[in-house]
């Protein structure tokens, strides 16, 4: 195959397919074992400084904030993040000084809420570096190639653009059609953390609603931490196997964390906490505000339960449940300024 162009972005998380197979064969446990542990143990055992990692969900939807806070508390440093629609997750991780490099599909923004003051400040001052650009489908297909044990997947995206020029992809002449085609390299993150609605103690997981990129991400990650709203019996999984989104043999740790996506949305259970988001967006306008926020909600807090108390406890979570089910109208304080 003739290579026509090569992207100049840093190639992150790529493995030779035989090396990747060896990892999967030797490191992924096909035995049915109880993997329940605390979030602090999971983060201590399966993440390390310098890792390249990806988070499940969609930046502020079904995202494991509980694990993100733990990464900050444990002082992880020099991590590179897959900015695959990274929103509140990356913002907090950048603020917490965990992340210093980004492969960027979508980062430094808060979707409808606007741009992220903390993330933008970090990248504009040079404290963190964007080492590669990519698109959302690009990330999805990097994970899919890895999930399939392939070195790359072809796609008709990024062609002709600077997004390609700064990506780690290559453009070749398709040997079938003769047309230029973009090859998206496989991506095996050192670890991934995915928050799910329910799973059993082995890690068999169910997700309600859209899966975003998590089916393939779970298969691509070298280590996978599952945080779950609720633990269920193995029997409940086996009763309806069509509901299993992630099977146990991909999973390294299972942590039960109710409300673990707060202040993000957990579809069907609770909507995003826009009051809290407004507080963060306001405070993160200054570095002093960032430090104050981290101290108040993360560093001086010992458990996620304590954090939930701090942000309004059961009463707040019941309100977010009613907003999720449309029984209560949504108020967006950040839209009023």
């Amino acid at each position: 195959m003739k290579v026509i162009h090569e992207g100049g972005g840093e190639l992150l998380g790529w493995l030779d397919p035989d090396e990747a197979r060896r990892w999967m064969t030797e490191e992924k446990n096909r035995g049915l074992e109880d993997k329940r542990m605390t979030i602090s143990e999971a983060v201590r055992r399966f993440t390390k400084d310098g890792d390249y990692f990806a988070l499940g969900g969609f930046g502020h939807v079904r995202v494991s904030m509980a694990a993100i806070y733990e990464l900050i508390r444990q002082g992880r440093r020099n991590l590179t993040i897959a900015g695959k629609t990274a929103v509140h997750d990356i913002d907090i991780l950048i603020a917490g000084k965990v992340v210093d490099k980004v492969e960027c599909a979508y980062s430094f923004g808060h979707e409808l809420r606007g741009l992220s003051p903390a993330g933008r400040r970090a990248v504009e001052s040079g404290r963190i570096k964007v080492v590669a650009e990519i698109s959302n489908a690009g990330f999805q297909w990097r994970f899919k190639a890895a999930a399939m044990g392939l070195p790359f997947l072809p796609a008709r995206i990024m062609l002709g653009t600077d997004t390609f020029r700064l990506s780690s992809a290559k453009i070749v002449e398709d040997p079938f059609s003769g047309k230029p085609l973009c090859l998206i390299p496989a991506c095996y993150p050192d670890f991934a953390i995915i928050h799910v609605h329910r799973c059993d103690k082995y890690g068999n997981s169910q997700i309600d609603g859209i899966e975003i990129e998590d089916i393939d991400l779970a298969r691509a990650a070298k280590r996978l931490i599952i945080t779950t709203e609720r633990l269920i019996d193995e029997e409940d999984i086996r009763k309806d196997p069509g509901r299993t989104a992630i099977p146990y043999f991909l999973v390294d740790a299972v942590c039960e964390v109710k409300y673990g996506s707060h202040p993000g949305n957990m579809p069907g259970l609770y909507y995003s906490d826009e009051e809290h988001m407004a507080e963060w967006l306001g405070m993160s306008r200054t570095e002093e505000g960032v430090r104050e926020y981290l101290e108040k909600y993360i560093l001086s807090v010992e458990s996620f339960e304590e954090y939930i108390q701090l942000v309004g406890g059961e009463e707040k979570m019941k309100l977010l449940e009613r907003i999720e089910t449309l029984e209560e109208p949504l108020k967006c304080p950040w839209a009023e300024s």
């Binding site: 959302n136 600077d162 859209i210 975003i212 069907g268 909507y271 826009e274 967006c332």
Partner: protein, 262 residues
Amino acid sequence: MPVGRELKITFTAVELMACVASRILEDGSAVLVGTGLPIIAATLAQKTHAPNLLIIFEAGGIGPVIPTIPISVGDSRTFHKAVMAANMDYVMGCAQAGLIDYAFLGAAQIDQYGNLNTTVIGRHDHPKVRLPGSGGANDAGSLCRRTIILMQHDKRRFVEKLDFLTTPGYLTGPGERERAGLPSNTGPYRVITQLGIMGFDDGSKRMKLLSVHPGVTVEDVLDNTGFDMIISEEVSTTEPPTVRELKLLREEIDPAGIVIRK
């Protein structure tokens, strides 16, 4: 209509943009939407002339009945009463296979060929303003049949040369998309701003002014454009929003005014 009494309808530029975008979408077509103005326009189309418009979100929501404006293109509103809650792979695969007719995009910069920048203002390694990046925009702009761009119109945004080409328009001219390997018969279709409606010249693929909004002149558009825009021989005046459209926008679609009153 009451006789002898003048009906004066007032509306904002954002409301007009929503109505213009909505009217483009045909019943029975499929549209990939983002949150904000695009989902408002698509919902308005569904409630008026296009009840069978298929709304699709990149994160996996297919055919939802939108209850309130989503904050994220992946939040629970994007698959409320949907026909399918799928995933990014599924939706982007559908787009690549030719199943998605329209996509809405926004941008910080656009050039005469409809190429878009949502990545950076200034140098990439030394950004003056760092923007979020492609997200799904490059994919949508590469793979959907027709893209509709909604953005503010001024000289800083309508530029001769982009600081960064995030999402392909017609690249450097006719035939260039195909030469780059992008799917044939795709590309930017309309650009809708607070000043007017632009299309692209069939021959040169350069941006062409089709219509100016009420109260806006051709001169105003040119004064706010940083490149040579082709002027259609018959520049029309955009139809203002109807009372019904405004009522739907203000009372049903965005009653809190999160987007239309911004």
